[in-house]
């Protein structure tokens, strides 16, 4: 066995140029997969983090039927006894914070221009425990519970040509479908670097919204933090277990993924595209190995004949070529890992600044600099992939070599 490995290793070295080509074919794939997976994982982690930090929290509760009509942000489908429910959920060990909200459709005007917006009435203190709100303020200050003020995004401020301290008219329909408006002072301007939020969202205190929308203390949404998006399912299950069946009949408890369908679908389709692309590259590498190793078999026919003549079995011949493929694969895997790790480390520690145009085309809240998140999975995966590719590439030439008739092999020039 050791002898076959020894001969195989020396043959790999002997056919340097071809071995290098085979090694490059496999290692380039491994390098690309290791680096790309790290980058893509970073992207996903960042997206999930930002979606939950900026938009959804980890778990949301609505009254039954609200989500079906969420597009119109209905003010008449509300959570019953929302304060009691909030207090009950707040006490659960896997829940770190709970905040009540009113989502409403409206528009803001500077007396010259009017822009439609998605309004969110919040409990400022509790909201800040779940979402990145205070830290997103780039001008002015965050809201207080009793403020008659508003937070708007920097893009919206630019579109309306307004700043902190200016006043806006906020229009909406009340719970009873009557029109209402309120004059609010711009207390702060936020920036998430995510156009969808910076252009379309406004935040006002829940107390002000209760009067303005004539809600009578009702809210149509409750958001919950589990501390981290990894703990979502645990918190979600705990809430479902803790609440009585009667309560659960009247509400819908949803994990954040239910509100990020677009992102989840994007991730799935991106993953499929990448598997197809890497699949094609790996298939090309396998065909490359089959070609170069078949040339080796043809060139070494007489040697194969000699080995068969002196007593090596067909299996032994096949082994030598398969071992050559395995050694080539292992070298390629190590080289691919090494260079893949270098790029992955660069992405992890230095990050990759994304161009400004990029943010105009994405519907996922991601940071301006993307960081890699390396994992053991891509190393295990590429290790298996590299070996399988090398073995498939080596199998057919090895079989061809083993099947040669000894006399024919000896007579090959």
């Amino acid at each position: 066995m050791k002898t076959y490995w020894q001969v195989a290793a020396r043959n790999v070295w002997r056919q340097k140029r071809r071995s290098i080509l085979n090694i490059i074919a496999i290692s380039v794939n491994i390098f690309a997969i290791v680096a790309y997976t790290s980058f893509y994982r970073g992207w996903i982690v960042n997206s999930f983090q930002n979606i939950t930090d900026y938009q959804t929290g980890h778990v949301q509760i609505h009254a039954n039927g609200f989500l079906k009509e969420e597009r119109r942000a209905p003010l008449d489908i509300n959570i019953e006894k929302s304060l009691d429910l909030k207090e009950k959920i707040k006490k659960l060990p896997k829940v770190t914070a709970v905040a009540r909200r009113i989502e409403f459709a409206g528009s803001v005007s500077n007396m010259m221009d009017t822009i439609n917006v998605m309004g969110v009435a919040i409990e400022p203190e509790d909201e800040a425990k779940i979402f990145v709100r205070k830290d997103a303020i780039i001008e002015g200050s965050y809201l207080k519970a009793n403020d008659e003020g508003i937070l708007i995004g920097d893009k919206l401020a630019k579109n309306l040509n307004v700043g902190v301290g200016d006043y806006l008219n906020l229009y909406s329909q009340t719970k009873f479908n009557t029109h209402n408006l309120v004059e609010v002072e711009i207390k702060g301007i936020f920036s998430y670097g995510f156009d969808y939020m910076d252009k379309n969202f406004v935040f006002i205190p829940l107390k002000l919204a209760d009067q303005f929308l004539d809600m009578g203390g009702d809210v149509n949404e409750m958001v919950i933090s589990a501390g981290s998006h990894h703990k979502t399912i645990a918190a979600f299950e705990e809430i479902n277990t803790a609440l009585s069946p009667e309560t659960l009949k009247k509400i819908e408890v949803s994990p954040w993924t239910a509100f990020a369908q677009g992102v989840m679908e994007d991730i799935e389709s991106d993953s499929i595209s990448m598997v197809i692309l890497f699949g094609i590259l790996v298939a090309m590498a396998i065909f490359g190995i089959i070609n170069t190793m078949s040339m080796n078999v043809m060139e070494r026919s007489r040697e194969i004949g000699t080995l068969r003549a002196i007593g090596i079995t067909r299996k032994g011949i096949s082994r030598i070529f398969l071992y050559e493929a395995i050694i080539t694969g292992i070298i390629a895997i190590l080289i691919g890992w090494f260079f893949g790790s270098l790029l992955s480390a660069y992405l992890t520690f230095h990050g990759l600044p994304m161009p400004a145009e990029f943010f105009e085309n994405v519907n996922v809240p991601v940071d301006k600099v993307m960081y890699g998140v390396p994992g053991i999975t891509e190393y295990i995966g590429t290790g298996i992939l590299g070996l399988v590719a090398a073995l498939i590439g080596g199998y057919f030439p090895a079989r061809k070599a083993a099947k040669m008739k000894v006399v024919d092999a000896l007579n090959k020039i």
Binding site: R302, E303, G311, T313, L410
Partner: protein, 230 residues
């Protein structure tokens, strides 16, 4: 004592629609310890005969009895086993494994027979000394002359202590002096170790060293000289 009995052996090759009769109705008896030259012009069937005896090929008709066993149509695995344990081969173009050094080339048949032990490794050194290559043990084949390579091939053929060594034109790629030297070494091994040798050649100067000469013409035995002439 008969080592090999070749009984009415024929070998045909099909080249497209043409049938080439490489050997026709060959009957030869080979005794243990023989040093046999198979002589004849190119295309007379020398290599075909050696291939059949060496279980590298199978006859179209007839049988080859080796140590009282019919080896003419053995399954591949058994034929390989016979070659590994009972036979040694020397080729015209030396056919050493280029990635192995001299010592490893000679040792290789031991390793594939899983007889790699200190005793056998001592045999390698001893055989290399016998063929005068003890100082070339670490050399690669491409660092040796033709004569030296053929001496390595002889040592490799002998390492498993085979009953029979088949040498196909062992001197054809060597100058006449080196060729004679190779035949002398084979003769020495034949005498000292008692190994049976069958070698093919078309060189009369080489033939004269043989104790028995089988002349082939057009795939048939033309005449047999020496020993009991069977």
């Amino acid at each position: 004592m008969s080592l090999i009995h070749i009984n009415k052996v024929s070998k045909d090759y099909h080249l497209g629609k043409t049938i080439v009769h490489a050997l026709t109705d060959i009957n030869i008896n080979i005794e243990k310890g023989d040093f046999i030259a198979v002589a004849g012009p190119s295309g007379s069937g020398k290599t075909t005969l050696l291939n059949l005896i060496g279980t590298l090929d199978t006859p179209t008709a007839g049988e080859i009895i080796f140590e009282e066993r019919n080896v003419s149509n053995l399954p591949d695995r058994e034929a390989t086993r016979v070659r590994a344990t009972k036979l040694g081969f020397i080729f015209q173009t030396f056919n050493l494994v280029p990635v192995l050094n001299v010592f490893e080339n000679v040792e290789f048949p031991l390793l594939i027979n899983e007889r790699d032990n200190a005793e056998n490794r001592k045999d390698v050194t001893e055989l290399l000394t016998r063929v005068g290559l003890e100082q070339y043990q670490k050399h690669r084949p491409d660092e040796l002359s033709g004569g030296q390579r053929q001496r390595v091939a002889i040592a490799r053929a002998l390492i498993n202590k085979p009953m029979l060594i088949l040498a196909d034109e062992p001197t054809a790629n060597l100058d006449s002096k080196t060729g004679e030297n190779i035949v002398d070494i084979m003769l020495k091994m034949n005498k000292e170790l008692g190994t049976t040798f069958i070698f093919s050649t078309h060189d009369p100067k080489v033939v004269r060293h043989a104790t028995k000469k089988i002349y082939l013409v057009d795939g048939q035995v033309d005449k047999v000289e020496g020993n009991n002439q069977s």
